[in-house]
Symmetry: D3
Subunit: 68 residues, 6 copies
């Protein structure tokens, strides 16, 4: 601990590196704790498994070309 | 927020739509908040990764034909 | 399992009853499973512990009278 | 979504602001998404409820003056 | 990592110690990893915030004297 | 409930059985509850999705042959 869990869409490994680096720096500075005890878990949720506004993200993208 | 995380078995996309629709309606009514700020994450857990009563769901199904 | 975790603001016990009833009905119908194996965990997050758009919900409410 | 959950010790409101700001900036840059759809939930875990190395953080602190 | 999150009712500190000790021993043996990298988070859920079978645990206890 | 969520690396089915058995025994003894109401969810996180000390576990392993 601290452990940070990130629920987001799929990303490539370069973005994972940047995500872990940035979050660990912030958490280390805020908590005043060394980076080596800070853990980050990245979860990649398929758009079919994410609901926003009562519909699936997967359906929404098809309709509108929205990309989140 | 609100964000609702659903831990369940695998389901097809039609069921995912129904799950997100129903949960969002309930949450929107209860919290008095518009649906577009309500998020749902569906997690599909393989029976090999779920333990009930000290055993894996995967083993239990084989033995008994139980289907949950 | 299924287990549903709801991350939201504080609500009174009547709303908790309605939330659990509605979510359990939806989950029971979608998964085709009896209600007694469906669990719901309600988490009540103080606005000081919720970040939206880079700021705390607690600060945002003060500024704008927004209520989510 | 993205939603980021931070499991850590108790912190004051200034640190919460810094945590949300820093994490949202990183997530917004990495995912290429506007900050207003990024949510952060901060959880403050009492040292009595955190286990490390088989013991409670609460006991460890008493013994050694360790502060994480 | 590994990190184990336990969602249960309130327990006293002696039980927390036993929970962390037992879970860490099991996880250390199964993963073949030293105990000091294994973290446990205990969450104590009030019965008013737990739903089973469509109702709150808090209501169920009153009706039946059930104690889980 | 109780529900225990285990965040760890990938493991084979024999280890999953041992993990569920051990954790359920501990939880059942500590909470004084029958094993059949105790649920365990095992999550297998790819090393590319786990951050420790500001870097990905996937990168760390390559560099040092470290195995956690």
């Amino acid at each position: 601990m601290p452990t940070i869990i990130v629920e987001g869409p799929s990303i490539d490994i370069e973005k994972k590196r940047a995500l872990v680096r940035g979050i660990t720096e912030t958490a280390s500075a805020v908590y005043g704790l060394p980076g080596h005890i800070i853990h980050v878990l990245i979860r990649e949720n398929p758009p079919e498994n994410v609901g926003v506004a009562g519909g699936l993200l997967a359906d929404r993208r098809k309709e509108s070309g929205t990309d989140r």
